[in-house]
């Protein structure tokens, strides 16, 4: 299967070409072409895998040369981090890179000879799913970025930012390559390398504008992720010395039988995953990542980076089931789900709402993985799929809206449906995908709730119940803003969305609806086998009755508004003014105030930012979760040695 090294190496090569090509048109053309090539090669990979009977495939047993190259590349990464940390006078951050790299290098050079059990590359349902997400969504984001970055550097808003698009696109492709490597690798040393690579790519992307805020936020992202990387490196080396083996699946099966060393390693790696998935107390880096241009936010939030954390946790899920580690992860995830959904209510900046909701949804996925039963993993997989599409769609849409509207504040989107109809409809679809009835998010929540009752995880039940109530609140009020008749003039605004951005948005919207409509089918043919493979037992989460109900709901919820809309269009209705105590001034946008002057009507949503704003809640909840993690880690490690 030559397609696998191609998938990993091709984006890296393109990254170099992007960096070297300084003529925009040529570079854009290469970017389009490469995005298509990546999508096609993911398709080829999937076809090859299906034609081999959808079995697990392991590859590459002797890879000494590649191991050396990877080690060298890891040292280069360390060099980059060290240089930049010294350049921006944050030298201490470099320690977080030097220490783990030194540790890994020492292990590789002086450590025991490892016994290969599996291969270096591991292909199964989960890695195929990740490849599809990274390949399709990631490439679409690249397509979108071509148009967006052009507008970005031509708007007066960003005139102080140096145009370094060659660098930006190089990073995007580097990121995709690292993600492919990450999800396909079985060897923990390789995983560690790609892990560091995604950390550093996101660091560089966040700092793209080189403004002071961007630099600060990028270093915050860097140190938090490198901290996770340290935990990962320690786990790998400890595990490698104990078992003379560095295979992920062997580690998971050792963890499942509660082998002492493996328990500690699983705990450390899951801690690392918490940092990458931006769970509390490490959530602030993802919110800080908002300063970067929109395509990089879309990439970080949907297809890459945070999903890497979820991927690792899902891999570890069987080993976490019913253990202290699982308890810790489920608690931190559930708590994050609840608290950040409160914080999301208080935000009016659209991108911030998305950021908090990403963290919140990731929290639910993390909690599902932490519980580690077949049902919760099923739910987590669906949450991940829907979240990836919908978040990518929403971020791209908000970027395009901001370009046209000059604002990304939800309050300014009042009447967006009448100002920018296309973008508003895409936004509507994206938001609906995040929480409304027939869309998969809700059914996943249903499964998560049922499973947490089944395993008697009381705290998680509380978190999910209150969290889902608050989640609907912030999404619904946003949707309401979009469809309200405008209190401004309500005329269409010039839609500056480029054709390529529109293509990407349209594909996303189609994917979203298709996934919703084909939900039962996807569950049957893909997700159930995935869960079986992981847990070795067959349990149909979606019973036939639920499936049947679900299909009815899907049909009704899609058909009714549509048919009702068609029928009401033909009806004759007298239109009247809205009720304003008889002081309307002729239309619904203004009224006569007490001094007899005309006053524009202005409607605003509830935010409660003084009560549940992130300023108020963030630090206490960070302290709390940190304490929980420290105590639980002590219990886990102490429990093994005592």
């Amino acid at each position: 299967m030559a397609i696998i090294p191609f998938l990993i190496i091709f984006p890296l090569v393109i990254a170099i070409i992007m960096y070297c090509t300084r003529i925009n048109k040529i570079r854009n053309a290469i970017a389009y072409l490469s995005a298509v090539v990546i999508m096609v090669s993911v398709g080829v990979l999937v076809c090859q895998w299906i034609s081999k009977g959808m079995e697990t495939i392991t590859l590459y047993y002797n890879t000494e040369l590649v191991d050396h190259i990877i080690l060298a590349a890891e040292i280069v990464l360390m060099g980059v981090v060290t240089y930049l940390s010294f350049k921006y006078k944050k030298a201490w951050v470099s320690l977080l890179s030097i220490c783990p790299t030194a540790l890994i290098a020492y292990y590789e050079i002086f450590g025991p000879e490892t016994r290969e059990v599996v291969g270096h590359i591991y292909i199964d349902y989960l890695s195929i799913l990740m490849c599809i997400i990274v390949g399709i969504i990631g490439s679409l984001i690249v397509v979108y970025a071509v148009g967006y970055m052009h507008g970005y550097h031509h708007s007066a808003h960003h005139s102080n930012v140096t145009d370094r698009r060659y660098y930006f696109f190089a990073l995007l492709f580097l990121f995709l390559g690292a993600m492919f490597g990450f999800v396909l690798s079985e060897n923990l040393l390789w995983i560690d390398f790609f892990w560091e690579m995604t950390s550093i790519c996101s660091f560089l992307l966040i700092g793209y504008t080189r403004e002071e805020e961007a630099v600060n936020n990028s270093f915050r992202a860097l140190w938090m992720n490198l901290l996770g990387g340290c935990a990962l490196a320690i786990a790998i080396v400890y595990y490698g010395y104990t078992y003379e083996n560095v295979d992920l699946h062997v580690l998971v099966s050792m963890g499942t039988i509660q082998s002492k060393c493996a328990v500690i390693c699983v705990a450390l790696i899951s801690f690392a995953a918490l940092t990458k998935a931006a769970q509390l107390p490490f959530s602030t880096w993802l919110i800080g990542a908002m300063v970067a241009p929109t395509p990089s936010s879309a990439l970080l939030h949907s297809a890459t980076m945070v999903k890497a954390g979820i991927y690792v946790l899902l891999r570890l899920a069987p080993a976490m089931s019913g253990t202290l580690t699982g308890e810790m992860i489920a608690f931190v995830g559930g708590f994050t789900f609840l608290i950040t959904s409160f914080m999301a209510i208080a935000q009016s900046d659209g991108k911030k709402v998305l950021a908090f909701s990403t963290i919140s949804n990731l929290g639910l996925m993390v909690a599902c993985a932490g519980v580690g039963t077949s049902e919760t993993v099923w739910a987590a997989i669906f949450l991940m799929m829907f979240h990836a599409i919908s978040k990518s769609l929403l971020f791209q849409d908000i970027g395009a809206t901001e370009n046209a509207l000059g604002s990304r504040d939800v309050e300014d989107m009042h009447g967006l449906l009448y100002m920018l109809p296309k973008l508003a409809i895409f936004m509507f679809i994206g938001i609906a995908g995040m929480f409304l009835a027939p869309f998969g998010m809700l059914i996943s929540k249903w499964a998560a709730l049922k499973a947490s009752v089944d395993v008697r995880n009381i705290v998680l039940v509380f978190f999910i119940i209150f969290g889902s109530a608050t989640t609907s609140f912030y999404w619904t009020k946003w949707m309401g803003k979009i469809i309200s008749h405008s209190h401004l003039n309500g005329n269409p605004v010039k839609d500056k969305t480029k054709k390529n951005e529109m293509i990407s948005l349209t594909i996303h919207a189609i994917l979203m609806i298709a996934l919703c409509a084909l939900f039962p089918l996807v569950s049957e043919t893909f997700v159930n086998p995935l869960v079986n493979e992981m847990f070795g037992k067959s349990e149909n989460v979606l019973s036939n009755q639920v499936l049947f109900t679900l299909i009815i709901i899907i049909v009704v919820v899609f058909a009714v508004p549509f048919l009702a809309y068609l029928s009401s269009k033909q009806q004759k209705q007298d239109l009247k003014l809205s009720y304003m105590n008889g002081v309307n001034t002729g239309d619904n946008r203004a009224f006569t105030d007490s001094l007899g002057n005309e006053k524009t009507l202005w409607l605003s949503n509830f935010y409660f930012h003084k009560i549940i704003g992130s300023r108020k809640l963030m630090i206490p909840s960070q302290i709390f979760t940190l304490a929980v993690i420290v105590v639980m880690m002590c219990r886990i490690i102490g429990g093994v040695f005592l």
Binding site: H414, G415, A437, P438, L442, W446, L449, K450, V453, I458, V461, F462, I464, I465, F466, S468, A469, T470, S472, F473, T476, K477, M479, G480, K481, I483, S484, H485, S486, H487, Q545, V546, T549, L550, I552, I553, V556, V557, V560, P561, A564, Y565, S567, S568, K569, Q571, K572, Q573, D574, L575, K576, L577, S578, Y579, M580, N588, R589, L603, N605, F606
Partner: protein, 287 residues
């Protein structure tokens, strides 16, 4: 078979029962206020009059949003009576409620918008108690399916007294009754006029009213689910309980004044946590 009959009965009869309950409500309220009150069938006269009026609206889209609200609400009840998953029923109900919210805000009218915002807030406030109730049923009877819950050997309320109290408490919010009628008021001469329904008129208002009837019957059916078990006598008991609960709601409605949303949020969540939450913890330990 019986499920299909029940479902059809719900779709056909719920507006009748709901309308009668509404008429009863007005009658009893009037008696409590020492008035004569309207005839029992007054709600039906009102709706039929609304249907014959010439259609007026603030924006055309109100109509299709309200129709979607109604159909999804009917679907909720129909799913319930056909014995499917109760959690799914409530999920569909919250989607229905979302359409009502849209119908409120789409006009950008000041009173309807503030009413809709408050409606949304109350959705957030009552949802935990509703989800708790579903979880409670699951723990007590081992199934989310309404059909299985109704056929269990003991009444669910034996295990779920706390859940029952929490559910009855939020019924006041759900039925938009005082002191929690923040989203709409029964009398248009108040601070939010008629809240979310301020700019809903003629046929649209008729749709809204009928949907409310469907909703009330569904909610009462959920109340009865706490009592019904495989013994047929329990159905009679359930009917008595439903009537008592409905009377209690009328009493509360007449005996209290509207509160601020802060008070509603605090009291409801505290009650939910201390009744349903504590009940849940106990249930999880013993079952």
């Amino acid at each position: 078979m019986i499920r299909i009959i029940l479902t059809i009965c719900y779709i056909l009869l719920a507006p009748l029962i709901g309308g009668l309950l509404d008429g009863l409500d007005r009658k009893i309220s009037a008696k409590m206020q020492r008035r004569v009150g309207p005839p029992l069938l007054q709600p039906f006269y009102d709706v039929s009059k609304l249907l014959t009026k010439r259609e007026t609206a603030v924006t055309k889209s109100q109509n299709f949003l309200l129709i979607s609200y109604m159909v999804l609400m009917i679907l909720t009840g129909a799913m319930f009576f056909s014995g499917t998953d109760i959690l799914m029923c409530f999920f569909v109900m919250s989607t229905a409620a979302t359409f009502l919210y849209f119908a409120g805000v789409v006009t950008s009218s000041p009173y309807a918008s503030i009413g809709a915002q408050r409606e949304l807030l109350s959705m957030m406030i009552y949802e935990p108690a509703v989800l708790f109730a579903c979880v409670g049923f699951y723990l007590a009877t081992g199934s989310f399916n309404v059909a299985d819950i109704a056929r269990s050997s003991d009444s669910a309320i034996m295990y779920l007294p706390g859940f029952f109290i929490a559910f009855v408490f939020i019924l006041t919010i759900k039925m938009r009754k005082s002191p929690f009628d923040l989203a709409t008021s029964h009398h248009p001469n108040q601070e939010i006029v008629k809240g979310i329904t301020s700019d809903i008129g003629t046929k649209n208002l008729a749709i809204f009213t009928v949907t409310e009837w469907y909703e009330n019957v569904f909610l009462m059916a959920v109340v009865s689910l706490f009592v019904v078990n495989k013994n047929p006598i329990s159905i009679v008991v359930a009917l008595v309980v439903v009537l008592l609960v409905y009377f209690l709601e009328i009493l509360i409605d007449n005996a209290s004044a509207r509160v601020k949303w802060q008070t509603m949020l605090k009291t409801t969540w505290v009650v939910t946590l201390f009744t349903a939450g504590v009940n849940l913890i106990i249930l999880m330990i013993i079952k």
